[in-house]
Amino acid sequence: MKNKVSRSAVIKRIFASLKPYRFSLVLSVIFGIVGVSLTPAIPVLVGRAVDLMVGAGAVDRDGIGPILWAIAGAAALSAVFQWLMTVVNNRITYNVTRDLRRAAFRTLQAVPVSYFDSRAHGGLVSRVITDVDAVSDGLLLGASHLFTGVVTVAATLVFMIRLNPVIAAAVAVLTPISLFVSRFVASRTYGYFKEQAEVREEQGAFTEEIISSQKVVKAFGREEDVRRKFRDINERYEKKTVRAVFFSSLVNPSTRLVNSIVYASVALIGALFAVSGAITVGVLSSFLAYASQYTKPFNEISGVISEFQGALACAERVFEVIDAERETPSDEGRELPAVKGAVELDNVNFSYFKDRPVLRDINLSVPPGSHVAVVGPTGCGKTTLINLLMRYYEPDSGKITLDGEDTSAVRRVDVRRSFGMVLQDTWIREATVRDNIALGKPDATDEEIAEAAKAVRAHSFIMKLPHGYDTVLSEDGGALSAGQRQLISVARVMLTAPPMLILDEATSSIDTRTELEISKSFEDLMAGKTAFIVAHRLSTVKDADVILVMRGGEIVERGTHRELLEAGGFYRELYDSLLRGVSDGQG
């Protein structure tokens, strides 16, 4: 029941998305009716012409001429209108496709960050791309096939009845049998296809995993073992495939069988009528033409209907994305005046899941320009703290203030603009180096961009790229090393010159020597700014004005490097293990 409701809701939504194209829809319907209803006229005209050529010396050549012209006219008009209908339908379909994608994309720009954190990106992309395509192919083009199919059936029926109601009735009653036959076969096949799909999925998962880790398989010498497993799945897949493919391919022969029965019946009744003189031979030939073509629209209709089911499911998934709950618009709220950089956290609590607190009673007061380092073991809440500062997530309780302003009351965009952020996972987009650097300041001049790149020591390697700043980078950074990618992200922040900084493990994907080389860039970047530095390399943090040691969602120690060492707590422990690592050799 619930299924039914949501399905009709989905259909309603589809109609709503067609609204801007009402005029085109009307055109499409007119073109379709004209184009399609002319086609059944041709067998009638041919029949008439045939009746004028009875035998040697009994041909009415003058009468045939106009009929041939009529055929030419009908065929030309029908072709033109059908093409026009296709053009209009393409317009509607591909515009709706575009509109759906845009609507989904707008939602994705407005949902909370948690939406992406809790979902597989591949699945979301496939909703926006593949599922939308399925909607346009299956529902919209499908609907146009359905419409032309129905018009063809109706128009043909009208023509047939006018020729001879009895034979028309025979065709009209017998032909839909092919529908039932193909339905029957399809319903039987569905199960086989499902079985086949299951094995295919199993095979896909297995091969993806093995091939991605092929080097491990080789290192451990397990090739024979995985080959055996693959052979086993592959053979099962073959069996299922033969069954599914064979049974599904019975549809065509079965409908052809029904078709030949219809054809034979029409031939029989028609010939008997012709003998009695009730119809002419020409009419018989028209009926035979109808009989051989009349199944086609029925098969198309049934094909479209079975595709509808799948397309509706896809549409539902698309609307789910479009309807995803948005957070309050990020430019809603009080405007935040220029920030000096005083940050305060007051009794902040946070959890991703209700029963598992991640941050507990965090209190923190950071004066402008000071550098705060956050250290602690994995999962201690370091990155969560960043999520809250950037308002990717909102605290469960407590408040965060910037220069005394409660951030939850000011515009999210202002909060974010006041921070420059460099993350561990660099994000390079498919665009030129210039566009990648100018991400936060699209109107930056070439000089400004080069200036920023020079400041972070990225200019020289950029100039070595094939096209300098115009080199198009691929999504995964392509030819750039991890360090170079990171420098591009640093240059981005350099260019926007925000009053505060967040560096979340910004150097941990870079080896220590490269880090040494770019640490100067970071120092320049941080000079005079409030900065939050998350790191597990203690070397990165020891110059900080205050180091927060986090453990299990709480700040367990705080102080300068020297103070914390003297205090002899958890920080000392962390540091000693490092020390053991480095200095034992020196005795």
Partner: protein, 577 residues
């Protein structure tokens, strides 16, 4: 394309399927002749008995045709499924035989596509050819042939029509294919922007780029939509064009038919038969047009599979799971590098040059240097994942190129830089190292790798492991891959940056555990931090593929500036003793 060899074992089916389809088509083509007989003889003569007889014949032809068709479909399914299965097997076998250098060249997504989607497309392509595509030429050629038996002049019209149809299809395909490609490229761009905005959501929001992103997306979707329409309008012209051509031919047939009948050279029934043939052709051609689009895709996919199978690859080197240890004299180094140089691909800069050292059982060798300095290359040469360019790598005094790669790798335990696990259970994953290990041995390996706490928190060895081990943190995965290597009790243990995600305390504990192993493995520790290698008996410092220093920790601190720099970067110069 040599792919047809995959129908081997299904030759009979592959041939029989089109034979039956041909037989079905011939039966279908007989129908208009029967109708002509009825019209020309039975109706004027009023012979109803003859009519009934002919109709029964028609029905019988339909029934026999059905049986033929079913057989044809069955053989087509058999043949194409067999073809696909053999092709996939061969592709997978080929993938399994790829060397490390081959794997460096071919990315995993490419291989997966060849194996799964490309071969599936090729398989369904064969099925479509056998089942549907062959039928259309049969009917079209058959209709032309039948037309010749009826009337040569009309048959010439048929021939010209077929030529015109071929031209029209070619024109539409030639114009349509590039249009579709452009539209596909535009879609790739839309997909790219969609994905980027998911992976980069934090950056996009941090820079308050939402509005710009929407603008970019609107441009990309507008372009795609426009190109889609162009491509759709071009391909949408094929059916109306076909329709016009067929009807033109029909008009010509009726015109010449009128003249011929008038002259007594043809009968009314024969004109109707020609009309029926024309109609049959139309139906088949409309179907064929749709199939050709599908088929061209299958053809491209089959081409890719074929190219992959024909690609030249390196020597086959495969290994059994585990092999017994070979005793080794104390004076022969277990691993010796003799002036070794190595590189990836011909003509490239060497990734490693002139490396020489010896390591004995029970010794630990540290390998340190920046990213790209050749650390992984060095250790990958020991199990002969790659071959040296010059010099030699010797294990127990024997050049690795002269030993059986199988037994060589059986003696090595590797924890690779990229720590991945397989879907299954913890036990499955650890047994990957050595299928004969007992649960006690597995638990012990986990303890040594400092990851035995998972046994309690995740519910023992049967704890589920997600694909790639995603349900574990990076550090847990690293330690599990170390455990997996330890399960083999290897003579040579290679830890390729296996502790980068571990905190210092755990890293140190792990190294102490490994140092305590009673079977005296030679251990290679690759790292970016001096702390992980400072206890090593020998530390090799690499810089741009060259040895920048070799010795013990304190020696290197005194003599090797690169080492000192790395050391200082980590300790921040704070450590004074």
């Amino acid at each position: 394309m040599k792919l047809f060899r995959f129908t081997k074992g299904y030759r009979k089916e592959t041939v029989l399927s089109p034979v039956f389809k041909l037989a079905e088509a011939i039966l279908e083509l007989l129908i208009p002749l029967i109708v002509a007989k009825i019209i020309d003889y039975a109706i004027p003569a009023g012979d109803t008995g003859y009519i009934v007889k002919m109709i029964c014949l028609m029905a019988a032809l339909g029934a026999v045709g059905f049986v033929f068709a079913v057989l044809g479909q069955y053989f087509a399914a058999k043949s194409s499924a067999g073809f696909g299965t053999r092709m996939r097997k061969e592709v997978f076998d080929k993938i399994e035989s790829l060397s490390y250098s081959d794997l460096d060249r071919a990315t995993a997504p490419t291989l997966i596509n060849r194996l799964n989607s490309d071969s599936a497309q090729a398989q369904s392509g064969l099925n479509i050819v056998l089942r549907l595509v062959l039928r259309s030429p049969f009917i079209v050629v058959g209709a032309v042939v039948m037309a010749f038996t009826i009337d040569v002049r009309s048959a010439l019209i048929f021939t010209v029509t077929v030529a015109a149809l071929l031209l029209a299809s070619a024109a539409v395909v030639l114009a349509g294919v590039p249009a579709f490609r452009r539209s596909q490229n535009a879609l790739d761009r839309v997909t790219g922007v969609t994905r980027e905005n998911m992976t980069g959501v934090r950056v996009v929001r941090a820079f308050v780029r939402e509005k710009e992103e929407i603008k970019t997306y609107d441009e990309a979707t507008a372009k795609h939509s426009r190109l889609q329409k162009i491509a759709g309008n071009i391909s949408g012209a094929l059916n109306p064009a076909t329709y016009v051509i067929i009807n033109t031919a029909l008009i010509l047939i009726l015109r010449s038919g009128a003249v011929r009948i008038d002259a007594g050279a043809m009968t009314q029934g024969q004109v109707i038969a020609l009309y029926n043939y024309m109609t049959q052709m139309l139906v088949e051609l409309l179907k064929l047009a749709g199939l050709i689009v599908m088929l061209s895709r299958s053809w491209a996919c089959a081409g890719r599979v074929s190219a992959f199978l024909n690609e030249k690859t390196d020597s086959k080197t495969e290994v059994p799971p585990c092999s017994p240890s070979v005793p080794c004299g104390g004076d022969v180094p277990r691993v010796r590098f003799d002036n070794v140089s190595a590189g990836y691909g011909e003509g490239s800069e060497p990734a490693l040059s002139s490396v020489s050292f010896s390591a004995y059982p029970g010794q630990t060798v540290g390998v340190i240097g920046s990213t790209g300095s050749g650390k992984s290359t060095l250790v990958d040469l020991i199990p002969r994942f790659y071959d040296v360019r010059s010099g030699a790598v010797l294990v127990d005094g024997v050049d690795v190129r002269e030993t059986d790669a199988a037994s060589l790798r059986g003696r090595c335990g590797v924890a690779p830089q990229k720590a991945v696990l397989f879907k299954g259970t913890l036990r499955d994953n650890l047994l990957f190292g050595n299928p004969d290990a007992t649960d006690e041995e597995l638990t012990e390996a986990m303890r040594l790798a400092c990851v035995d706490d998972l046994l309690e928190t995740h519910g023992g060895l049967d704890a589920p492991v997600a694909q790639y081990g995603r349900n574990f943190s990076g550090g847990q995965r690293q330690r599990l891959t170390v455990a997996r290597a330890l399960v083999r009790r290897p003579e040579i243990l290679i830890l390729d940056d296996s502790s980068s995600a571990l905190d210092y305390a755990t890293d140190a504990k792990l190294r102490r555990n490994i140092a305590s192993l009673d079977y005296d493995p030679t251990v290679f520790i690759v790292s970016q931090r001096t702390g992980s290698v400072k206890d090593a008996d020998l530390i090799i410092v690499l810089e741009d593929g060259e040895v920048a220093g070799i010795g013990r920790h304190d020696e290197l601190l005194a003599s090797c500036p690169v080492y000192r720099e790395i050391h200082d970067a980590v300790s921040g110069g704070e450590v004074s003793g």
